[in-house]
Amino acid sequence: MDTFQEVLFKLKKYWSERGAIIQEPYDLEVGAGTMAPETFLRVLGPRPYRVAYVQPSRRPADGRYGENPNRLYKHWQLQVILKPSPADVIDQYLGSLGAIGIDLRKHDIKFEEDNWESPTLGAWGIGWQVMLDGLEITQFTYFQQCGGIDLDLVPAELTYGLERLTAFLQGKDSVYDIEWAPGATYGDVRLADEVQFSVYNFEMADVATLWKLFELHEKECQRLLESWRDYPDKKRFPVLPAYDQVLKCSHLFNLLDSRGAISVTERVAVIGRVRRLALGAAQCWMEQTAAEVVQ
């Protein structure tokens, strides 16, 4: 029986053997692996790309003080991007399940319609949730649009829920009982994290401070995006730092939301503000990479 970390190693190895660059997690707070620039920006434009990385994903509103056996404030996703998607992408995906010891001929696997959409990122795709013996283990998406831009090459995005998958493999009813490494459970490693962040996100985060931070990051992002047009050496222009500011705003929005600090009338407007930044960064990235191709 594989430990949590062994499952990670095997999946990374599997995808590295299929030409994916193995990245490490992005070092900012994100709500999903999709938001990391390795996905959000790299899926844009005509360049093929293959990458896989584990992304700890923070969803403040999903925190349960460590009391719910299946809900986490922060969970681990394995994000795989295959751009463009190969014709045998589903077979490759099923092969990855084989690589972590699941004999699919003895199990029931179904692909059930589940399209993905992120209004904040101006992104959507068509796909499924992959069900293994009734358990959703992966979200499978063919991206169609990102940052409001139609994609030149259609990537397949595979997002594995690593805690669930490992709980399945280990036959555990609570994610906290998963064996992370020999002698150490998931709870040993992460429980304090879940408790403390639930307390902070739901009870103590200072709303005024969060709003102030949101506005600071938003301004910084706007300032950068506005300077794009007149910036002389386009290749050196800091699109990636501008996108970091988008991620900051997105996370702060999620925090404000979990604090119940966003009123109805504000909500749509705030999503719109983050979205405008995301679309701006995507547009910049497109123009910058197109300029590089010309050179």
């Binding site: 809900r71 589903i90 001929r105 009734g134 358990l135 090459l153 259609v154 036959g171 109805v264 909500r267």
Partner: protein, 693 residues
């Protein structure tokens, strides 16, 4: 020689609910294709699994019949000059690609013309299909499509991965989205073989051997047989069965169990988790209660080691644990303490939060109870708490259960039965087949909630158009109509709907739909009754029932025809029948049929009024119908358009009075009598009745 056809479009998993409509479209597209190409088949069928759309046909001709077409050219007179072909003749011949000698002369009504008999050998069916099928495949309609080969590439529901296209034993060769058609198919993803060589004859059997049941009927039968063999009583669920038929290629039901301890949770919660989230059938115990079992349908042949069963049991255990956890956590904060939190839940951007909505609905429920002369305390309390379950973890997880969860929580928190039941049933009726809320408070709440949504959406311009109705306003309006009529609530619609003419018109359509389609009244009776007003729908129902009862009697239809005549006469005389009736000058009446009609009418008038007051419409109508001989005689003997202006006016006034008296029940001129033909396409006549009078 007649040939069979096999077309299999191999795809990645298609959403189950899209498959049957797609097959119907595929078949009609193919039928069109045959007709356009002067071909036909003597047998055709479509089939599908999540991974393939299949069309089969038999009796296709090997090639089209040869065709012959006469193409007309210039007049003969202009085609030759001095026995030599002119430019016109040469040009026409060139256009036809032949020598002038090949042209013929055709005699028409307009004279002699040059023409060319163009013959085309019938093309080979195989070739026709190879040319046409790529376009046909991409034309199949799906509600949401994708591209996958790159921007601007073909769109389909999911990527196409293989195509089998056989006409007889030959491949109709073509390419769609980079996939070349051939004679090889794929079996079950995990149990079946790949690149399996098939022909029109062995296709279904080869797939069956490779764990794919192509026919939905066969999969359905396999599920049903499997269910029957489990030794438990499975709760029938036809909709779930259909879903499972179309998300599997080789379905096999298995029985699983859960800890009976979970049966302490409400059955609604357990069933919703099983059905909506896990696609499991529920199992009943001997008394019809819920048993601690479930049935999952696998997309594989068997589960000899019980791995799949244990996996599903673990998932369900986690889900039930979640539900129990949510239930317990949610109780820490009773519904009444959640009202303020509704400020953070959006109802609709322009219409504010659910707190705003709650406040409006409470007010409206109070107003409705007053109008209905009912006690409104329970309805107001229920309205205050109705949306609070939107802030609970249980409803965030099981959104299908909104309302139901609120009701269950209200019960657990000690709210009176009329309050919790009202909350529980606030979304009823969810369809035209569904029942209305069972209690008075439930009806008031359901009405207030739906009316608020309708008024609000219309106010900010969110009006349904065509098939787009994102806020389900048609269903809401239909629900209002159903509750008012079946709940015997004679509330004045005009007051409920406010002044928006668009909303009134929208409602009128729903009212018509309800009485015609749901209640089965004849469309002309509905039009006739609605034209006489529809402010009180219970009254509309009574009038309709009366008309329906009186219609077969001998006097009714002839009288209706007379009323139609009266209406026409008045219209031609330029009299506005909607205005208040003027007084009849009895002195101007001619003795005989005219005076007799008035006296008969006046004898009747007060009685009819009494009947109407008591809503004894049937008796009222029968009384009116008894006037028929007098009316007939009047038209027979009396000239309405008398030369004397005063007499003429007075006669028109008499008719006008007559018409108004009966029109309070129904506008008889809307009744289609057997002596006149029904209007073409005699469906709903969408003449605009007055919204309400």
């Amino acid at each position: 020689m007649s040939l069979p056809l096999l077309l299999e479009i191999g795809t990645e998993e298609i959403p189950d609910w899209m498959i049957e409509p797609a097959l119907n479209h595929l078949q009609s597209l193919f039928q069109e294709l045959l007709e356009q190409n002067r071909l036909s088949a003597n047998w055709m069928r479509t089939d599908a699994t999540p991974r393939r759309l299949v069309l089969r046909a038999e009796g296709l001709a090997e090639r089209q019949a040869d065709s012959e077409e006469l193409v007309s050219g210039p007049p003969k007179a202009a085609a030759f000059k001095d026995g030599q072909p002119t430019g016109a003749a040469l040009g026409f011949a060139r256009k036809m690609g032949v020598e002038v000698a090949a042209l013929e002369v055709q005699t028409t009504a307009r004279g002699e013309y040059m023409c060319y008999r163009k013959k085309a050998a019938g093309r080979e069916t195989l070739q026709i299909l190879a040319d046409a099928l790529p376009e046909l495949i991409l034309k199949i309609y799906f509600p949401k499509t994708m591209y996958w080969t790159g921007k601007g590439g073909p769109r389909f529901i999911r990527p196409i991965r293989w195509i089998v296209a056989l006409v007889g034993d030959r491949v109709a060769a073509f390419e769609v989205a980079g996939v070349r058609s051939g004679d090889r198919t794929y079996g079950h993803r995990l149990l079946g073989g790949r690149e399996l060589l098939v022909n029109c004859g062995n296709y279904e059997q080869i797939l069956r051997d490779n764990f794919v049941l192509v026919s939905a009927a066969e999969r359905r039968a396999r599920i049903e047989t499997g269910l029957a063999g489990l030794g438990v009583k499975v709760k029938p669920d036809p909709a779930l069965l259909e879903t499972l038929v179309y998300i599997t290629e080789y379905p096999t039901p298995i029985l699983g169990g859960f800890d009976p301890e979970f049966l302490k949770l409400p059955e609604e919660v357990l069933v919703t988790v099983m059905r909506h989230h896990q696609k499991y059938f529920s199992v009943e115990d001997a008394e019809g209660g819920l048993a601690p079992h479930f049935v999952a349908v696998m997309n594989t042949s068997a589960d000899p080691e019980g791995l799949v069963r244990r996996g599903n049991e673990r998932v369900l255990r986690a889900r039930f644990n979640d539900a129990r956890f949510f239930w317990n956590v949610d109780q820490h904060k009773p519904l009444v303490d959640r009202v303020a939190d509704l400020a953070h839940v959006t109802f609709q951007t322009k219409l504010g939060s659910y707190l705003d909505k709650t406040k409006r609905v409470v007010k409206l429920a109070k107003r409705l109870s007053k109008l209905a002369k009912m006690d409104g305390v329970a309805a107001e309390r229920a309205a205050l708490l109705a949306k609070c379950d939107l802030t609970t973890d249980m409803v965030k997880e099981l959104t299908e259960l909104q309302g139901v969860v609120g009701g269950l929580y209200a019960r657990a928190q000690g709210e009176p039965e009329e309050v919790w039941r009202a909350i529980y049933e606030q979304y009823k009726p969810e369809s035209m087949e569904d029942t209305i809320p069972a209690t008075p408070a439930g009806r008031l709440l359901a009405l207030a909630d739906k009316l608020d949504t309708l008024q609000g959406c219309f106010r900010v311009g969110l009006v349904p158009t065509g098939s787009r109705d994102p806020f389900a306003l048609r269903r809401a309006a239909q629900g209002v109509v159903k509750i008012l009529v079946e709940g015997k609530l004679g509330l004045p619609l005009a007051k409920l709907l406010g002044k928006d003419p668009a909303l009134a018109e929208f409602f009128l359509d729903r009212v018509k739909h309800y009485f015609r389609e749901v209640r089965g009244f004849a469309y002309d009776e509905v039009n006739a009754v609605l034209a006489a007003g529809w402010d009180d729908l219970t009254d509309v129902e009574s009038r309709l029932e009366a008309i329906q009862a009186v219609r077969p009697t001998e006097n009714f239809e002839p009288l209706a025809a007379s009323f139609k005549r009266i209406k026409n006469i008045l219209r031609q005389a330029g009299i506005d029948t909607a205005r208040a009736r003027p007084l009849i000058d009895a002195a101007l009446l001619e003795a005989g049929p005219e005076a007799e009609l008035l006296s008969a009418f006046e004898r009747l008038r007060s009685r009819v009024k009494q009947f109407r007051k008591k809503r004894e419409y049937r008796t009222a109508l029968e009384s009116i119908a008894s006037l028929r001989p007098r009316v007939d005689l009047f038209f027979d003997k009396v000239l309405v358009n008398a030369p004397d202006e005063k007499i003429r006016r007075n006669r028109l006034t008499l008719l006008h009075n007559l018409l108004n008296e009966s029109s309070a029940i129904a506008d008889f001129s809307e009744i289609v009598t057997s002596t006149e033909p029904r209007p073409a396409g005699s469906g709903p006549q969408e003449e605009k009745a007055q919204p309400y009078e």
